[in-house]
Structures are given as C-alpha cells and as structure tokens.
C-alpha cells in the first residue's frame, strides 16, 4: 500500500451508508455531558428542549415543525462527528486484530541458550528479553539485540512484503503484533504495558483521547464569542419587540409576535439560525478527518497539534538519499580520452563491469546497452573469461579474456594497475577525473592493457518530478533544504539539479540539530524526516518530525509522526494535509458567518412586518408567510450541516499556490458563496414547505 506518487491531497469518499450506521452514535452524543464540549451545539440543544416544552404547552403544527428541525440540527452535528470517528473505528478494529493475546518466551538473559519462561504478553516490562522464532508473533515493541529475521509487518503497515529486522544499526526496531517469518531474534522490550505502538495507534485513529489543537481552541473561542453576541442580540430584542407591538395597537397577534413579544419558538429559531452552527457542528469532524487523511496515507500523527504545525512549516529538511535522489549512483556518460572511440570505451566498460554486482556496476551495463546498443553478455557465454569481481579492497572489477585485460574502478586503483602494468596515464585522464568530481559526479576509470581508455561518469539520479515539487513548495512559501553526507561540491551539483533552495553538506547529526535551532530562532517551523538513533535529537527538536517505521525505536519515540511506508517524500504530502485542514476550518467558518445575512432577510420581516409593514421590503426572497420563512431558515440551517459533511471529511480542495491566490479563490467560493447560497436554499425550501398545513 504505497502512497500515490502525485501526492495531490484527495480524500476518502463518504459512503451514504456510513451516515445511517453512525446514527446510533449520533443519538448517544445528545447527552449534555458529552455535548458541553461543543458550546454552540449545546445552546442549540438547550433551545430545542425549551421549544419542546413550549410546543407541548401550546401545540401547533408550526411549533412542532420547528422543534423537530431544531433537534435534527443537533443530531446532524453529532452525526458529522460520529461519521468521522466511525472511519477511525474501522481502522482500529483491524489494528485490534493484530493485538490478539499473545504469549511471550521471556529469557533470563539475552542469549538464545538462556533459561526461558512463558508469560502473557501484557506482563512484559521494559528491559525484558524475549526470543521470537519463525511463525511466532512479536509480543511487544522493542529492539532486536541478537539475530536477523524477516518480519511480516502488514498488520500495521498494510504492506505484505516482509521486511528485514536485525540487531544493531537502524533496522533494529520491531513492533508488537507483527510476525516473524524466518529465523530467530532476541528482542529487548522497550514499551510499558498498554503503551505499545499499536495501542497508541488505536487510540489515535479512534480519536479517543483527542485533544483540541491550539488553533481549534482559538476558533472555538471566537465561535463562543459570536454565540454570546447573537444571544445578547436576540434576548435584548424582546423588550424592543414588546414596545413595538405596544405602540402599534390594533395589529393582530401573529404566531411570531404577540403582546408578550416575539414567541419563544421564533426567538429560539432566530438564535439558532444566527449562531455559527455550521462550523460549530463540523469543527471536530474536520479535525478527526484531518488525522484520518494522514492515516489513509499510512502516516500516524501522535497529536493533532503536529498536523496543524505541518500547515505552518516554512522549512523542510529533506535527506538527499532516498528522498531527492533514487539512492544509487548510475552511469550517465562515457568520456573517452583522445584517440579512443566512445563505442570502444563503452564496450570495454561493459566487459569490465559484468563481474561487478553492485548497483553502480549494473548501471554501467544497463547504460552501455541503452546508449550504445551493446547487448548484455552473460558471464557464462564467454568461455575463456577469467573474471575479476569487484571487492571493497581492490575497488575495481574486470575480466581477462583471450589475452585482453580490462579493468574499471576507482581512479586511484585503476591508475595504479595501469602503472604496475608499465603504462603511463596521461594528464588528460587526471583532468577528466577532476572535471567529473568537480561537477558532483563520481569518476570511474576504464583501462585495457596498461592504457587508460576513458572515464565513466556516475551520477546521483534525482527522482523524476522533484524540481516541480520544490517549485510548488517555493510558491507556498516553504524553503527546502537538502541534507547530505556528500562533500559540498557534490551536494551543490545535486542541489542545483533538484532545485532545492539550500543544502547542508557533510552533515552530522549535530549540524542538523544546529540548523533546526537556527531556523526556529528566526521564527520558522521546521519539518524533517529521520530514521536513525542519531536523528532522534533533531526529530525531537523539529516542529514536525516524521520518523520512518523502519527506523529505530529512539527515532520513532522522538518524532511526532511515524510514516509506516517509510517514504521520506511523504513529508510534502503531510504539509499539504496540514494546510488543507486549516483551510477547511477557515472556509467553513466564513461560510457559516456569511450565511447569517440571508437568514436575517428571512426572519426579520417574518417577525416584524406585521407591526411595521414597511419591513416587508426586506423580504427580498418573497417567502410565502412568516411561518414558512422561519421554518425554511431553520430547515436550511440544519440541512446545510449534512450537505457539508462530505466537504468536512474530504477537506477543501487544495492546490499549492501563493497565499494571495488561495485566499481569493476561497473568499469567492465560501465568502461570496456563503452569502448567496442560503438565499437560494431558503427560497427553494419555502417553495416546498408552503404546502404544509398551517405554514403557507
């Protein structure tokens, strides 16, 4: 299950069946003890209770219709949250299956021959040693201290191909609930009971201990303030309404206004229509869905705060190898010395590389075939060949064939071989070698019979589409910094080719940490990926630290996200998801507030046109009757929540572009749209409800 390479943020589709399945949960959430966390909807519920009482005391079809729709407003809001949570629950169920009760073979000491006892997995404590053999399930999170094994991690990553886990190095971390397929390993447990990776994943996707993020808290405060303002505006309207009725004697009582002022049912309707119910209803669903979109991309965020921070990131630290480049050097050119044909050099290079099984050697053979049409010869088909395989000591490979001796390898090694054979490499070779090094490439010299034929240019190959990606980042205001252990020259060449803004060459973990601190000093938020134990301090320091699942426990512990696919390029998608989350919140808030204008135009004339007939001029939608106007506004207010659930879950469409362009687009769509849509919606609903008894 790998992520789409294009990385455009999309989202899961909403299955209508999900709405029905989530209904019981939505009804459970009507409990005020749960609802108090959402003050806007709590006000609606209190209003619904109040109007229910009024409708019981003084029943009319109109009052009951309002009561029903007010309750539906609360239910719809709960439904949005329940649907969002429901998707997480499905994922949690899969995870739980992996966390079935296992037993552990605990060792007295970390050797395979040590005495062992069998205990239930939950009894393991950090520091315990367990032995796991082929076919057994690893009982808890830990590090491999002895042995090597292939492990099936599909339970947590969804990836069916097994991965190798071995002691020492950066591939030592294992996760409880995954299965050893071959060999035998000894694992030192690092988790406390009930705090395993899978436990945390379950908690996260279920949203069980979901904490509100700072921005969510701030938005809630603003919504609460708006609610208070509208509460004041509606409540203080009452004496004014009573007075207006009083000074216009002879105006008959209406269902909206009598001598006691605006009727309770209508007053509550007005309040519910004005307070920001749309965003209030969808706010937590937006947050849960944001986390969920990450999970769908196989990224686990340890907190919502990290997702939010991702949207704010202004510096991305990207490891060169694996993120920007494919990871291996590949042959990119054959540069012959004077007097040697390219074809001749290519043939010799291919011959000399047949016995070189390293990726570099393979790439030379492939390049010779692609660029020069040289058929790949199998070592067996050249009968008399004496193969000289590549080793780290000789640093060259080659073949002795019918008296021909061909070699290729590191410049110094091959030059020495040439001199030993009595040859004299010319200065020209030195220039070629230096030239390739200077351009950031790696030179390999090819020689035959004591004569240098030319140089192979090996290059780091930048992944396709990276430059475009980085251009996008720049438009979004994000600076990309490439981190590499290469020398500055090589680093610069690749940085230029990939189009990153800056690079850090010969980087040590300390350099990385210092760079992050420097960026943060200037007020920038930094995101990075890492997998090794030595990345841990930098991961902890960065604002968004994405640890690779293949990495060490220390790295996973230090970061605030884990990428189960271990794909460092995903950092870019994570940033986009963070931005999308914030945009969705802003867009729906704007939409919600803009909606109020139309509702006023529906409700104010409905309440007061009886006493001041001139106010009927405000009834621009020409709604049928006061009752139908108020009911239509309330129905629209409720229905719009359901209509926007898919948008809240999917997120507003996001394309990387400048802040200004993004804003214009969203302002037109959700600001202007938010003003216009309810005028149309309320009118359409009015056309239907006017046929109801006592409404039209």
């Amino acid at each position: 299950m790998s992520s789409p390479a294009t990385g455009r943020v999309g989202g899961g589709l909403l299955d209508p069946g999900q709405l029905v399945r989530s209904l019981p949960d939505a009804l459970k959430k009507l409990n005020p003890a749960t609802l108090w966390r959402n003050p806007v909807m709590l006000i609606v519920e209190v209003g619904a209770v109040f109007t229910t009482v009024l409708a019981v005391l003084d029943p009319s079809f109109f009052a009951w219709a309002i009561v029903v729709w007010l309750w539906l407003t609360v239910v719809f809001a709960n439904l949005a949250e329940a649907v969002a949570e429901g998707r997480g629950k499905a994922q949690a169920a899969t995870l739980r299956a992996a966390k079935r009760d296992t037993t552990a073979r605990r060792l007295k000491s970390p050797t395979a021959t040590a005495e062992e006892d069998v205990v239930p997995a939950p009894e393991l404590r950090p520091g315990d040693y367990v032995i796991v053999e082929a076919g057994e399930v690893i009982p808890g999170d830990g590090d491999v201290v002895e042995g090597i094994a292939s492990v099936d991690e599909s339970a947590i990553t969804g990836e069916s191909a097994p991965v190798i886990r071995e002691s020492g190095g950066d591939r030592s971390a294992v996760t409880g609930g995954t299965k050893v397929l071959s060999d035998r390993i000894i694992v030192r447990i690092t988790q406390k009971p009930g705090e395993s990776f899978i436990d945390r994943m379950i908690a996260l996707v279920e949203g069980a201990n979901r904490q509100k993020t700072p921005n969510e808290i701030a938005l809630n405060i603003l919504l609460a303030a708006l609610t208070i303002i509208f509460l004041i505006a509606t409540v203080t309207m009452q004496p004014l309404a009573i007075y207006s009725k009083l000074v216009n004697p002879g105006v008959p009582d209406s269902p909206a206004l009598n001598a006691d002022g605006v009727t309770g049912v209508v007053l509550v309707s007005l309040l519910v229509c004005l307070i920001p119910t749309t965003i209030g209803a969808l706010l937590s669903a937006i947050g849960i869905a944001g986390m969920d979109r990450l999970v769908q991309r196989n990224v686990l965020a340890m907190s919502g705060r990290a997702v939010e921070a991702a949207g704010d990131v202004s510096t991305l630290l990207l490891d060169k190898t694996g993120t920007i480049t494919l990871g291996n050097r590949e042959a990119a050119a054959f540069v012959p010395v004077d007097g040697v044909a390219e074809q001749q050099l290519a043939e010799a290079a291919q011959l000399a590389s047949l016995a070189d099984a390293t990726p570099e050697g393979r790439s030379i053979v492939v390049y010779a075939k692609q660029a020069y049409g040289l058929r790949e010869r199998q070592p067996g088909e050249l009968a008399h060949a004496e193969w000289v395989p590549f080793t780290a000591q000789t640093r060259m490979s080659g073949v002795n064939l019918d008296g021909r001796q061909v070699r290729k390898g590191a410049a110094t090694a091959v030059m020495k071989w040439v001199r030993d054979a009595g040859g004299h490499p010319t200065d020209e070779v030195g220039h070629l070698v230096d030239g390739i090094s200077a351009s950031g490439g790696t030179p390999l010299v090819v020689a035959e019979q004591g004569r240098v034929l030319g140089v192979i240019h090996l290059k780091d190959v930048v992944k396709a589409g990276m430059r475009e990606r980085f251009d996008e980042m720049r438009r979004m205001g994000i600076r990309t910094v490439m981190i590499t252990g290469d020398n500055p020259l090589t680093a610069k060449a690749i940085a230029d080719e990939a189009g990153v803004d800056d690079f850090l060459a010969e980087a040590t973990p300390e350099d990385k940490l210092a760079l992050i601190r420097k960026e943060q000093e200037g007020g920038r938020l930094v995101a990075m990926t890492g997998d090794g134990t030595n990345d841990a301090p930098a991961l902890a320091q960065s604002d968004v630290g994405v640890a690779m699942n293949t990495g060490t426990s220390a790295a996973k512990e230090a970061g605030n996200m884990v990428d189960l696919d271990s794909n460092p390029t995903k950092l870019i998608e994570i940033v986009e998801i963070g931005k999308q989350l914030l945009i969705t919140r802003g867009a729906l808030t704007t939409f919600s507030i803009a909606n109020d204008i139309a509702k006023y135009f529906a409700i104010i004339p409905a309440m007061f046109a009886a006493v001041y007939p001139g106010l009927d001029a405000l009834n621009v939608m020409r709604l049928t009757s006061p009752q139908s106007a108020i009911l239509s506004a309330v129905i629209f207010n409720a229905v719009v929540i359901v209509a926007l659930i898919p948008l809240a879950l999917r997120g507003v469409r996001y394309r990387p572009s400048s802040a200004s362009k993004l804003l214009s687009r969203n302002l037109y769509l959700y600001g202007l749209g938010g003003i216009i849509v309810p005028f149309i919606g309320i009118k359409l609903i009015d056309l239907l409800v006017q046929f109801l008894p006592g409404i039209g």
Partner: protein, 553 residues
Amino acid sequence: MSATAAGMLFIASLVLAMVLVHRPFGDYMYRVHTSVRHNVAERVVYRLLGVRADVEQSWGVYARSLLAFSVLSILVVYGIQRLQDKLPLSLGRPPVTDHVAWNTAISFVTNTNWQAYSGESTMGHLTQMAALAVQNFVSAAVGMAVAIALVRGFARRRSGTLGNFWVDLVRSSVRILLPIAFVGALVLVAGGLIQNFSGVHEITTLTGGTQSITGGPVASQEAIKELGTNGGGFYNANSAHPFENATAWTNWLEIFLILVIPFALPRTFGRMVGQVRQGYAIVAVMGIIALASVLLTNAFELGGDATVPRAVGAAAEGKEVRFGVPDSATFAAATTLTSTGATGSAHDSYTPFGGLMTMFNMMLGEVAPGGVGSGLYGMLILAVITVFVAGLMVGRTPEYLGKKIGPREIKLASSYFLVTPALVLTGTAFAMGSAEQRASMLNGGAHGLSEVLYAFTSASNNNGSAFAGLTVNTPWYDVATGLCMVFGRFLPIILVLALAGSLAAQSPVPEGAGTLPTYRPQFVGMVIGVTIILVALTFLPALALGPIAEGLS
C-alpha cells in the same frame, strides 16, 4: 454652484487635506513616540509626578498606571463640579447635582463627552477649563497611549514591556495635542469664535424677549474638543452655536481637526512596525468606510425622503442655515465616525436613514477613523479578527504582522469585540423594558426607540453625541449611561493592553510567500467586509425596529 456641488467640493477638499497631512503628521507622531529624548517641559512634569521616565512597563503595570490616572481624574473632575460655588470664576452657579457631576466626570475622562447638562447654564468658567478642558487633552492622550502601546506590541520581539504610560501620556499632550490645539484656537478666533472671561449678558431680543448669553474661553476649548475627538460643547447647542462654530469655514476647520489625528495614526503605526504599506492598508479601510458613510448621509439628507423635506427639497429641519444641509450632514458623519460627538445639527431631525447612518457609524465601534488612538486600536482588533477567520483560508495558523493569533490573542480580541454591543443592547433593552424610562422619549413609535438606541450607542462607544429628543439628565439615565461609558472605555483598553503584552512577548514569524499579505486591496476589502457584516449582524434586529422600520414605512 448648487448646494449639492458645494457640498461635494467641501468633502473633496477635506479628503485632499487628509491626504496631504497624512504622511508628514503621521511621521511626526512616529518621531514623538519613538524618540529617546525628553524635552524640558516633560522633564519638569516627570520630576513633579515622580515618574522614572526611562523605566519600561509591562502591560499590567501600564494598565494599572492608566487606570490609576483615570480614577484620579474622575475624582478631580467630580470634586471641582461639586465645589464650583466655592471656587473662583463660578459665575455664581451652584454645585452641579451629584448624578450629573458623576456622569459628567466619567463622560469627560472616558473621552465620551456625553453631556447630561447644559454647558452655559450649569458650569462656571473654572469648571469648564480646569476640569473639562484638561480632560479634553488627557483623555485623548490616554487613547493615543493605548494605541501606541498596542503598536509596540506588534513591533517588538520577545519583549516583556510596552513602554511607559506616563511618558506616552505626557508626550501625546505636550508635543502633539497642545501645539495643534493652540494654533487651532487662534485660527478659530480669527474665524469668529469668542475667547474671553465675560459672564452672563442679559440681552433684549428684537422681538422684545430677553435672552441670557454667556461668554467664556470658547475657542481654546473648541480646538481641543475637536482635535481630541472629545465633543463636549461649551454651549448646549454645541457646534451648532455661532460662538462655537461661526461660519462654513470654521465648520470645515473643525471637521479637519476632528479627523486629522485618527487618519494620521495609521501612518505612525506603519512606521513603527517598519512597513508603511501596513499603515496604508489600515488607513484605506478607515477612509473607504468613512467616505462611503459621508456620501450616504449626504444622499439621505439631500434626498430628504419625508413629507416636510420633500416640500423644501432637502431635510433642512434641525440644521443651521449658515452651514446648509450637505455640510451639516458631513459634520454629522465625521463626528459619529470618530468618537467626537460634537454636533453641528440635530441628529434627531435627520431622515430615518440619515439618522441610521449616524448610529451605524458609532456601532462600527468607532473605527473609521474613530477616536484619537481608540480608532486605531479598534481597527487593529478588527484586523486581528479578520486575519483569524480569513487567514486560515491560506492554510496556515493565522498571523498578523508576524505575530501568531492563538487562543490567548483571539480570546482578548473577541472579548473586546463583545463589550460594546453587549453594553449598547442591554442598556437599550433595560430602558425600553421600563415604562418609566420610556417616558423620557420625546417621540413615540419607532423614532422614540431610535432615540434610546442612539443614546446607549453613543455612550457605550464613547461618542457622546446625542440624538436629542431624549431627556437624559434623570438619575437613571445618568447612572446607566455612566456605566456604559466607563465599561465601554476601560474594559476594551485593558483587553487591548493585555493583547499588546502577549503580542510583544512573541518572536515574529518571518513573512513568506505562504503568509497572508495584509497590505493588499484584497485584505482591505476583507476587513471592510468583516467590520460591516459583524456590526450589521449584531445590530440589525434593534435597527430594524428603530430607524429601518421608520424609514421603510
């Protein structure tokens, strides 16, 4: 030239004057508030007050200094009024009654200048000068100090302090308000305003009736009344009185003085935060709203959509003939757009929609361009709220001028936004809910409701103008409007200073391509939209039963 054309020329010349002084005057105020040197006069004042002028204050200390100063001011103004018969230059007037003195003390200290009394028949010269005129200066200086402190909050990085309240107060008074008021007073005298210590003259009018006319130091008070966006007239008729506002030219000059500081402060803001374009954006918001409001008020008054106005061609009732309808309307818009509240005509007699405009201007929260200082800080709060809502739509947590708008900032900003609507609406609701208080209304029906709504809007927003018609010097109204003024002034100030403190402590986020640009027309449009929509949504029910009901019937 027709009256309308003359009126448009009047407005155009004011706009031009604002454009011309915006930059040099804003730069001057920038230098005043960033200079490290104290002049001789200031050093004397600091020594007398025992102020350590070079010690910076945290927001809490700043706020406490401001409140202490204001409480003391209220006590002094109250004391002088109550003891005026024992003090010189009393013109033999008795002490001001307790509830009126309380209301007046609060009114002048809060820069409201709501007048529950009639100036020429209640106050002696010393009360006018030592109590009221002094507050005209310092209450404006307090507003400016708060605005400057908020701007410092945006400009500073990782700072625990906002400057020194006493220095900001004294400098605003000594270097900005006093010199301009002095020159302004001289010009106004030249324009026909009086400036003397004469007492009451009994005059027999042409028709044979008697009239008592009080002289006094009018021009000096008039200049600071407008410059400090105070609005408390020497005479009950305020700027409609010929001694306070003699000709069309003094009318122009008074409007100029009203607008000059509020419209120049955004430049000071731009300079202090190191990005003048941010200041231009803020002044653009203020200017566009103000101009739209002035033009609409003129249109409603000249259109004069009522029986009598239709007969005479415009809504001329309650307006001075020497100014004419358009210039009176422009004065009315200017005085309500700023927190001045001086009146050159009777707003009660405006057409329903013209009257609606004056109310709506105040309901905006006095931000376009608002009072001295209070206009700028009110507008910056609205910018913060706009940034918060719209800023999310660019995919970042909101920031303004590099400062993050987080839970604490939004809590303070939205509380600020809550205060005045809450005061206006609850005050109006209480008055309208009581038959006894309703008896103070001159008119019945929707117009009577407008009178009460106007009174509480004016008091809570520290404007101070009166719609007229409503009898407000009763104990109930004195206490109620007094509470509105005091809470409407100091709660927002405390919230603004707290916000400034939390902003100053932050280290700014550098601007990049992903940051919401807050200097483009796009942002200007957004702030205008948010301001008008929020105000409209808050006050529409009340307005619908008052001026809108009246205007549409």
